[in-house]
Assembly symmetry: D2
Homo-oligomer: 136 residues x 4
């Protein structure tokens, strides 16, 4: 396996709970995003702010979530993410969210991203030095 | 084609916009959800509240979104949804979100649902009379 | 009365409902914000985008909401807002949110704003031509 | 001083950031709510779930936020809250949110709550044993 996986622990906020008394479906997206930002900073040592300040950005092109078991009020959970594919112009990030208490899988899935030059808004070939940052 | 498609017009709210100056990725989920509730009431004539009060619920099992072009502040958009598959215990709902002004596709995808008995929390065979409600 | 009041009709989205089966408390903020943007465009004829592009912004300094009756799933409601005070460097906007069906008050309150120069981030004396835009 | 103050550390999530590149104004509400739930469990040793299961609930009647300095992407912050008034049928909770890195105040304010019987939906005199739980 070429790319590492990293884990971030987070907790459900009361405003994440919807009328069904579970975490609202779209919030799992936000959990993966939060974990990914945290891992860019602490694991890849390449914070998103730095990435943006260099004129690059990631634009999401596809999101897939398979829901298994919902999270509830106050639950602590682990978001494990890792690059599963890194191509010329983009990458795929896989994820698994696990309930910390039960150890059971809540959902998994993947997000596809294209790298863009934030000045032109167009996709670009990912420079080698960026690929190196992610190839750990 | 066995199942109809319906359209709902909505507008981006300022709180939907994220740091990238576009609608936050996870909010497209919420737009489809909002359109679906509206269509259950006005097109299927079977509001979600009625569905729930009869002891049934829909649990999402899979969400897939293909992002094409982002929506921005104040944009009006059309959410077209329709059942693409209705099986013994669940259904698949396809959707397309289109920018009203440009007529261009913003994103499409599908959601898979399993029907549950809200008292037991378990999946159940969808009764014929419910299938009839959706077979229009 | 020196300043007009304007009304915007909106509808509760399913993702606005929280675990208490009502609109989540903080979402009323977002409803007022949405109404205010709409009214800047259609009533003041001075869209926020134009305001920002001229180098000005409004920074909120105080928010007060008095909650009377909650809104629920699918409710349509009216957001009435109006400037109640316009001073050298800021303004106060009062609001009332009313349930369209019952005509009853859901909440009221006020937001205080300071005008800032978006380039310096500092507050500035509001130019006369901006005051004129709002004095209708 | 009759009532204790408690502190909870939280972190800004990327989905909390709005088009102004700061935490969205209404999210500070949600931060106070999250801190309050955490403090009910760990400081008052009286989790909200237990409170609800006994047939009681808190309904917000007033929210006041004074905004001083915004929080930004990735910021860690401290939410200090404490009861400032506990009356026959309700209470007032004061709060301060401080940026952990700078030690500077981001916002403060207060929330007023009325206690309701969740079965009748009506306000009730707060029983002595509940008052004792909060009088620490």
């Amino acid at each position: 396996m070429k790319y590492s996986k990293f884990e971030t622990e987070l907790q459900v906020r009361p405003d994440d709970i919807d009328m069904n008394q579970h975490v609202h479906n779209s919030r799992y997206f936000d959990y993966v995003l939060a974990a990914r930002y945290e891992q860019m900073e602490h694991n890849y040592r390449f914070p998103m702010q730095q990435f943006l300040s260099l004129g690059f950005g990631w634009v999401i092109t596809k999101a897939l979530v398979n829901y298994k078991r919902p999270l509830g009020l106050g639950d602590h959970f682990i978001v494990k993410t890792g690059i599963t594919d890194l191509a010329a112009k983009g990458c795929t990030v896989g994820f698994e969210i696990t309930n910390k208490k039960t150890g059971k899988l809540c959902c998994d899935g993947e997000f596809e991203y294209t790298m863009v030059n934030v000045n032109t808004g167009r996709s670009e070939i990912i420079p080698d030095w960026i690929i190196e940052h992610y190839t750990i």
